[in-house]
Protein backbone atom coordinates (compact mmCIF):
# COMPACT_ATOMS: atom_id res chain seq x y z
CA UNK A 1 0.00 0.00 0.00
CA UNK A 2 1.28 3.46 -0.91
CA UNK A 3 1.56 6.38 1.48
CA UNK A 4 2.77 9.95 1.19
CA UNK A 5 3.56 11.33 4.63
CA UNK A 6 4.40 14.84 5.81
CA UNK A 7 7.87 14.91 7.34
CA UNK A 8 9.45 17.73 9.28
CA UNK A 9 12.16 17.65 11.89
CA UNK A 10 12.90 21.23 12.97
CA UNK A 11 16.39 20.17 14.15
CA UNK A 12 17.53 18.88 10.75
CA UNK A 13 15.05 20.02 8.05
CA UNK A 14 14.92 23.53 6.64
CA UNK A 15 11.34 23.02 5.49
CA UNK A 16 8.72 20.27 5.53
CA UNK A 17 8.55 17.70 2.72
CA UNK A 18 6.39 14.73 1.73
CA UNK A 19 7.99 11.29 1.93
CA UNK A 20 6.66 8.32 -0.04
CA UNK A 21 6.39 4.89 1.53
CA UNK A 22 5.26 1.58 0.09
CA UNK A 23 4.61 -1.23 2.51
CA UNK A 24 3.19 -4.69 2.39
CA UNK A 25 0.33 -5.10 4.77
CA UNK A 26 0.26 -8.12 7.04
CA UNK A 27 -2.74 -10.13 8.09
CA UNK A 28 -4.62 -8.20 10.75
CA UNK A 29 -3.58 -4.77 9.46
CA UNK A 30 -7.01 -3.23 9.12
CA UNK A 31 -6.76 0.31 10.38
CA UNK A 32 -4.55 3.17 9.28
CA UNK A 33 -2.75 3.10 12.61
CA UNK A 34 -1.72 -0.54 11.95
CA UNK A 35 -0.10 0.58 8.70
CA UNK A 36 1.64 3.52 10.41
CA UNK A 37 3.06 1.19 13.05
CA UNK A 38 4.21 -1.09 10.22
CA UNK A 39 5.92 1.90 8.52
CA UNK A 40 7.52 2.86 11.83
CA UNK A 41 9.05 -0.61 12.04
CA UNK A 42 10.96 0.23 8.83
CA UNK A 43 11.59 3.91 9.54
CA UNK A 44 11.68 4.68 13.24
CA UNK A 45 12.34 8.39 12.60
CA UNK A 46 8.65 8.88 11.76
CA UNK A 47 6.90 10.59 14.68
CA UNK A 48 3.25 10.30 15.58
CA UNK A 49 1.12 10.20 18.70
CA UNK A 50 -0.86 7.08 19.57
CA UNK A 51 -2.13 5.38 22.66
CA UNK A 52 -5.38 3.45 23.05
CA UNK A 53 -5.66 2.41 19.37
CA UNK A 54 -9.44 2.22 19.65
CA UNK A 55 -10.78 5.76 19.22
CA UNK A 56 -10.94 6.67 22.88
CA UNK A 57 -7.81 8.68 23.66
CA UNK A 58 -7.84 10.96 20.61
CA UNK A 59 -4.02 10.96 20.35
CA UNK A 60 -3.67 9.91 16.73
CA UNK A 61 -5.81 12.58 15.10
CA UNK A 62 -4.29 13.66 11.78
CA UNK A 63 -5.22 14.89 8.34
CA UNK A 64 -6.00 11.81 6.23
CA UNK A 65 -6.40 12.37 2.49
CA UNK A 66 -7.39 15.95 3.21
CA UNK A 67 -9.84 15.26 6.01
CA UNK A 68 -9.16 15.19 9.75
CA UNK A 69 -9.74 11.87 11.47
CA UNK A 70 -8.31 9.27 13.81
CA UNK A 71 -5.77 6.86 12.37
CA UNK A 72 -6.96 4.07 14.66
CA UNK A 73 -10.59 4.19 13.52
CA UNK A 74 -9.94 4.79 9.81
CA UNK A 75 -10.23 1.61 7.75
CA UNK A 76 -7.40 1.02 5.27
CA UNK A 77 -9.83 -0.52 2.82
CA UNK A 78 -11.71 2.78 2.52
CA UNK A 79 -8.66 4.90 1.68
CA UNK A 80 -7.60 6.04 -1.75
CA UNK A 81 -3.93 5.51 -2.62
CA UNK A 82 -1.47 7.00 -2.13
CA UNK A 83 -2.77 7.81 1.33
CA UNK A 84 -1.70 11.38 2.02
CA UNK A 85 -1.07 12.01 5.70
CA UNK A 86 -0.42 15.43 7.17
CA UNK A 87 -0.52 16.84 10.69
CA UNK A 88 -3.78 18.53 11.71
CA UNK A 89 -3.91 22.00 10.14
CA UNK A 90 -3.87 25.25 12.08
CA UNK A 91 -1.54 24.18 14.88
CA UNK A 92 2.27 24.45 15.03
CA UNK A 93 4.07 21.24 14.03
CA UNK A 94 6.45 19.83 16.61
CA UNK A 95 7.65 17.04 14.36
CA UNK A 96 6.15 15.02 11.46
CA UNK A 97 2.53 14.26 12.42
CA UNK A 98 2.82 15.61 15.96
CA UNK A 99 1.31 19.06 16.57
CA UNK A 100 1.57 21.43 19.51
CA UNK A 101 -1.91 21.43 21.09
CA UNK A 102 -1.16 24.06 23.76
CA UNK A 103 -3.50 26.63 22.17
CA UNK A 104 -6.25 24.03 21.87
CA UNK A 105 -6.04 23.12 25.55
CA UNK A 106 -5.77 26.78 26.60
CA UNK A 107 -9.19 27.34 25.03
CA UNK A 108 -10.48 24.19 26.69
CA UNK A 109 -9.18 25.47 30.02
CA UNK A 110 -10.77 28.90 29.44
CA UNK A 111 -14.31 27.46 29.46
CA UNK A 112 -13.72 25.99 32.95
CA UNK A 113 -14.42 22.37 32.04
CA UNK A 114 -15.43 21.25 35.50
CA UNK A 115 -18.53 21.45 37.69
CA UNK A 116 -18.91 24.67 39.64
CA UNK A 117 -21.19 24.06 42.58
CA UNK A 118 -20.90 25.92 45.88
CA UNK A 119 -23.41 23.75 47.76
CA UNK A 120 -21.96 21.62 50.57
CA UNK A 121 -20.76 18.24 49.31
CA UNK A 122 -23.51 15.62 49.64
CA UNK A 123 -22.88 12.40 51.51
CA UNK A 124 -22.79 10.34 48.33
CA UNK A 125 -22.93 11.91 44.86
CA UNK A 126 -24.79 14.83 43.30
CA UNK A 127 -27.86 13.24 41.76
CA UNK A 128 -29.44 14.01 38.39
CA UNK A 129 -32.80 13.02 36.95
CA UNK A 130 -32.57 10.73 33.90
CA UNK A 131 -33.92 13.65 31.81
CA UNK A 132 -31.18 16.01 33.00
CA UNK A 133 -28.57 13.31 32.45
CA UNK A 134 -29.85 12.79 28.90
CA UNK A 135 -29.02 16.43 28.12
CA UNK A 136 -25.34 15.55 28.33
CA UNK A 137 -25.59 12.87 25.66
CA UNK A 138 -23.77 13.86 22.51
CA UNK A 139 -21.58 16.24 24.51
CA UNK A 140 -19.66 14.29 27.13
CA UNK A 141 -18.38 11.76 24.57
CA UNK A 142 -15.88 14.27 23.13
CA UNK A 143 -12.38 12.80 23.29
CA UNK A 144 -10.59 16.13 22.74
CA UNK A 145 -8.71 14.89 19.69
CA UNK A 146 -8.83 18.36 18.11
CA UNK A 147 -10.05 17.12 14.70
CA UNK A 148 -13.02 19.52 14.70
CA UNK A 149 -11.23 22.61 15.95
CA UNK A 150 -8.33 22.23 13.52
CA UNK A 151 -10.76 21.71 10.62
CA UNK A 152 -12.44 25.04 11.38
CA UNK A 153 -11.36 28.06 9.29
CA UNK A 154 -12.57 30.41 12.02
CA UNK A 155 -9.97 28.78 14.29
CA UNK A 156 -7.30 29.01 11.59
CA UNK A 157 -7.89 32.77 11.22
CA UNK A 158 -8.24 33.54 14.92
CA UNK A 159 -6.61 30.68 16.84
CA UNK A 160 -5.88 32.83 19.87
CA UNK A 161 -9.39 34.30 20.15
CA UNK A 162 -11.98 31.80 18.86
CA UNK A 163 -12.53 28.99 21.36
CA UNK A 164 -13.25 26.50 18.60
CA UNK A 165 -15.96 23.83 18.24
CA UNK A 166 -14.48 21.41 20.75
CA UNK A 167 -14.02 23.99 23.52
CA UNK A 168 -17.48 25.44 22.88
CA UNK A 169 -19.08 22.02 23.02
CA UNK A 170 -17.40 21.43 26.36
CA UNK A 171 -18.64 24.84 27.53
CA UNK A 172 -22.18 23.81 26.61
CA UNK A 173 -21.72 20.42 28.28
CA UNK A 174 -21.26 22.24 31.61
CA UNK A 175 -23.84 24.95 30.90
CA UNK A 176 -26.60 22.34 30.55
CA UNK A 177 -25.41 20.18 33.43
CA UNK A 178 -28.14 20.42 36.10
CA UNK A 179 -25.49 20.06 38.82
CA UNK A 180 -23.59 23.14 37.71
CA UNK A 181 -24.40 26.55 39.23
CA UNK A 182 -22.34 28.85 37.01
CA UNK A 183 -24.52 29.08 33.92
CA UNK A 184 -24.68 32.89 33.89
CA UNK A 185 -20.93 33.20 34.41
CA UNK A 186 -20.26 30.67 31.64
CA UNK A 187 -22.54 32.49 29.18
CA UNK A 188 -20.92 35.81 30.10
CA UNK A 189 -17.50 34.23 29.48
CA UNK A 190 -18.49 33.63 25.84
CA UNK A 191 -19.95 37.06 25.13
CA UNK A 192 -16.95 38.68 23.44
CA UNK A 193 -17.35 38.97 19.63
CA UNK A 194 -14.60 36.41 18.99
CA UNK A 195 -14.85 33.57 21.52
CA UNK A 196 -18.23 32.22 20.36
CA UNK A 197 -19.46 34.38 17.52
CA UNK A 198 -16.66 33.63 15.04
CA UNK A 199 -18.54 30.42 14.24
CA UNK A 200 -20.18 30.85 10.84
CA UNK A 201 -21.87 27.43 10.79
CA UNK A 202 -19.89 25.90 7.95
CA UNK A 203 -20.04 22.58 9.83
CA UNK A 204 -16.57 21.26 9.07
CA UNK A 205 -16.58 20.24 12.73
CA UNK A 206 -19.62 18.00 12.26
CA UNK A 207 -18.17 16.54 9.09
CA UNK A 208 -14.88 15.42 10.65
CA UNK A 209 -15.81 14.46 14.22
CA UNK A 210 -14.64 10.85 14.66
CA UNK A 211 -17.20 10.33 17.42
CA UNK A 212 -20.05 11.61 15.20
CA UNK A 213 -20.83 14.49 17.58
CA UNK A 214 -22.37 17.81 16.60
CA UNK A 215 -20.42 20.79 17.99
CA UNK A 216 -22.34 23.09 15.66
CA UNK A 217 -25.63 22.25 17.40
CA UNK A 218 -24.02 22.89 20.79
CA UNK A 219 -22.83 26.32 19.59
CA UNK A 220 -26.33 27.15 18.28
CA UNK A 221 -27.80 26.02 21.61
CA UNK A 222 -25.48 28.38 23.51
CA UNK A 223 -26.72 31.29 21.39
CA UNK A 224 -30.36 30.26 21.91
CA UNK A 225 -29.79 29.94 25.63
CA UNK A 226 -28.35 33.46 25.78
CA UNK A 227 -31.52 34.82 24.18
CA UNK A 228 -33.73 32.72 26.47
CA UNK A 229 -31.94 33.90 29.60
CA UNK A 230 -32.17 37.54 28.52
CA UNK A 231 -35.94 37.08 28.01
CA UNK A 232 -36.29 35.46 31.45
CA UNK A 233 -34.28 38.25 33.09
CA UNK A 234 -36.56 40.80 31.45
CA UNK A 235 -39.70 38.93 32.63
CA UNK A 236 -38.36 38.71 36.19
CA UNK A 237 -37.54 42.41 36.16
CA UNK A 238 -41.10 43.18 35.03
CA UNK A 239 -42.62 41.02 37.77
CA UNK A 240 -40.46 42.66 40.41
CA UNK A 241 -41.39 46.16 39.25
CA UNK A 242 -45.12 45.29 39.17
CA UNK A 243 -44.86 43.93 42.72
CA UNK A 244 -43.09 47.12 43.78
CA UNK A 245 -46.02 49.18 42.45
Amino acid sequence: MKFSIYRYNPDTDKKPYMQDYEIELQEGDQMLLDALIRIKQHDDTLSLRKSCREGVCGSDAMNINGKNGLACTTKLSELEQPVVLRPMPGLPVIRDLVVDMTQFFEHYNSVKPYLINDDPLPETERLQSPEDRAKLDGLYECIMCGACTTACPSFWWNPDKFVGPSGLMQAYRFIVDSRDQAEAERLENLEDPYRLYRCHNIMNCVDVCPKKLNPNAAIANIKDLKIERAKEAKATKKTVSIKAI
Partner: protein, 115 residues
Protein backbone atom coordinates in the same frame (compact mmCIF):
# COMPACT_ATOMS: atom_id res chain seq x y z
CA UNK B 1 -38.20 42.14 24.22
CA UNK B 2 -34.79 41.58 22.67
CA UNK B 3 -33.71 45.22 22.80
CA UNK B 4 -31.32 44.59 25.69
CA UNK B 5 -29.49 42.00 23.60
CA UNK B 6 -28.77 44.70 21.04
CA UNK B 7 -26.99 46.94 23.55
CA UNK B 8 -23.30 47.21 24.38
CA UNK B 9 -23.87 44.85 27.30
CA UNK B 10 -23.87 42.02 24.74
CA UNK B 11 -21.09 42.93 22.28
CA UNK B 12 -21.03 39.56 20.51
CA UNK B 13 -24.74 38.79 20.64
CA UNK B 14 -25.87 42.16 19.32
CA UNK B 15 -23.96 41.80 16.06
CA UNK B 16 -25.05 38.20 15.58
CA UNK B 17 -28.68 39.00 16.40
CA UNK B 18 -28.73 42.10 14.20
CA UNK B 19 -27.65 39.99 11.24
CA UNK B 20 -30.39 37.44 11.94
CA UNK B 21 -33.08 40.10 12.44
CA UNK B 22 -32.08 41.85 9.20
CA UNK B 23 -32.29 38.50 7.39
CA UNK B 24 -35.80 37.89 8.75
CA UNK B 25 -36.89 41.39 7.66
CA UNK B 26 -35.63 40.67 4.14
CA UNK B 27 -37.44 37.33 3.97
CA UNK B 28 -40.70 38.96 5.11
CA UNK B 29 -40.38 41.72 2.48
CA UNK B 30 -39.56 39.26 -0.29
CA UNK B 31 -42.57 37.12 0.62
CA UNK B 32 -44.79 40.21 0.60
CA UNK B 33 -43.30 41.14 -2.76
CA UNK B 34 -44.17 37.71 -4.17
CA UNK B 35 -47.75 38.07 -2.92
CA UNK B 36 -48.02 41.56 -4.40
CA UNK B 37 -46.61 40.35 -7.71
CA UNK B 38 -49.14 37.53 -7.77
CA UNK B 39 -52.01 39.91 -7.00
CA UNK B 40 -51.08 42.86 -9.21
CA UNK B 41 -49.16 41.06 -11.96
CA UNK B 42 -47.36 44.17 -13.23
CA UNK B 43 -46.54 44.04 -16.94
CA UNK B 44 -45.60 47.61 -17.90
CA UNK B 45 -44.05 50.71 -16.37
CA UNK B 46 -47.38 52.12 -15.21
CA UNK B 47 -48.38 48.93 -13.37
CA UNK B 48 -44.92 48.64 -11.75
CA UNK B 49 -45.23 52.25 -10.64
CA UNK B 50 -48.65 51.49 -9.22
CA UNK B 51 -47.17 48.58 -7.29
CA UNK B 52 -44.13 50.41 -5.90
CA UNK B 53 -45.41 53.93 -5.29
CA UNK B 54 -47.85 53.70 -2.32
CA UNK B 55 -46.19 55.41 0.68
CA UNK B 56 -46.48 52.31 2.90
CA UNK B 57 -44.83 50.12 0.26
CA UNK B 58 -42.05 52.66 -0.17
CA UNK B 59 -41.49 52.57 3.60
CA UNK B 60 -41.37 48.76 3.50
CA UNK B 61 -38.92 48.93 0.59
CA UNK B 62 -36.76 51.34 2.55
CA UNK B 63 -36.77 48.96 5.55
CA UNK B 64 -35.83 46.11 3.19
CA UNK B 65 -32.86 47.98 1.74
CA UNK B 66 -31.76 49.20 5.18
CA UNK B 67 -31.84 45.56 6.35
CA UNK B 68 -29.95 44.44 3.25
CA UNK B 69 -27.18 47.00 3.79
CA UNK B 70 -26.98 46.24 7.53
CA UNK B 71 -26.72 42.53 6.71
CA UNK B 72 -24.05 43.20 4.10
CA UNK B 73 -22.16 45.51 6.45
CA UNK B 74 -21.99 42.83 9.16
CA UNK B 75 -21.09 40.10 6.68
CA UNK B 76 -18.27 42.07 5.08
CA UNK B 77 -17.08 43.13 8.55
CA UNK B 78 -16.82 39.44 9.49
CA UNK B 79 -14.86 38.66 6.34
CA UNK B 80 -12.43 41.52 7.03
CA UNK B 81 -12.05 40.38 10.64
CA UNK B 82 -11.25 36.85 9.50
CA UNK B 83 -8.94 37.57 6.59
CA UNK B 84 -7.40 41.05 6.95
CA UNK B 85 -5.00 41.12 9.87
CA UNK B 86 -3.30 44.41 9.08
CA UNK B 87 -5.40 46.78 11.20
CA UNK B 88 -4.69 49.84 9.06
CA UNK B 89 -5.69 48.04 5.84
CA UNK B 90 -8.74 46.58 7.55
CA UNK B 91 -9.80 50.07 8.70
CA UNK B 92 -9.38 51.49 5.17
CA UNK B 93 -11.39 48.63 3.63
CA UNK B 94 -14.10 48.88 6.28
CA UNK B 95 -14.49 52.66 5.90
CA UNK B 96 -14.68 52.23 2.10
CA UNK B 97 -17.46 49.67 2.47
CA UNK B 98 -19.24 51.86 5.05
CA UNK B 99 -19.18 54.87 2.71
CA UNK B 100 -20.39 52.75 -0.21
CA UNK B 101 -23.29 51.28 1.77
CA UNK B 102 -24.34 54.68 3.10
CA UNK B 103 -24.18 56.05 -0.45
CA UNK B 104 -26.32 53.14 -1.68
CA UNK B 105 -28.88 53.79 1.05
CA UNK B 106 -29.04 57.49 0.10
CA UNK B 107 -29.46 56.47 -3.54
CA UNK B 108 -32.31 54.12 -2.62
CA UNK B 109 -33.96 56.94 -0.66
CA UNK B 110 -33.72 59.25 -3.68
CA UNK B 111 -35.18 56.60 -6.00
CA UNK B 112 -38.06 55.80 -3.63
CA UNK B 113 -38.72 59.49 -2.97
CA UNK B 114 -39.04 60.19 -6.69
CA UNK B 115 -41.64 57.46 -7.31
Amino acid sequence: MLIELLTKKYPGMRLWLTQRISAVMMVIYLMLMLIMLAIKQPHDYASWLDLMSPWWWRMLSLVFFASLFTHAWLGVRDVFKDYVFNLRLRAVLQVTVDILLIAYLCWVCIILWKL
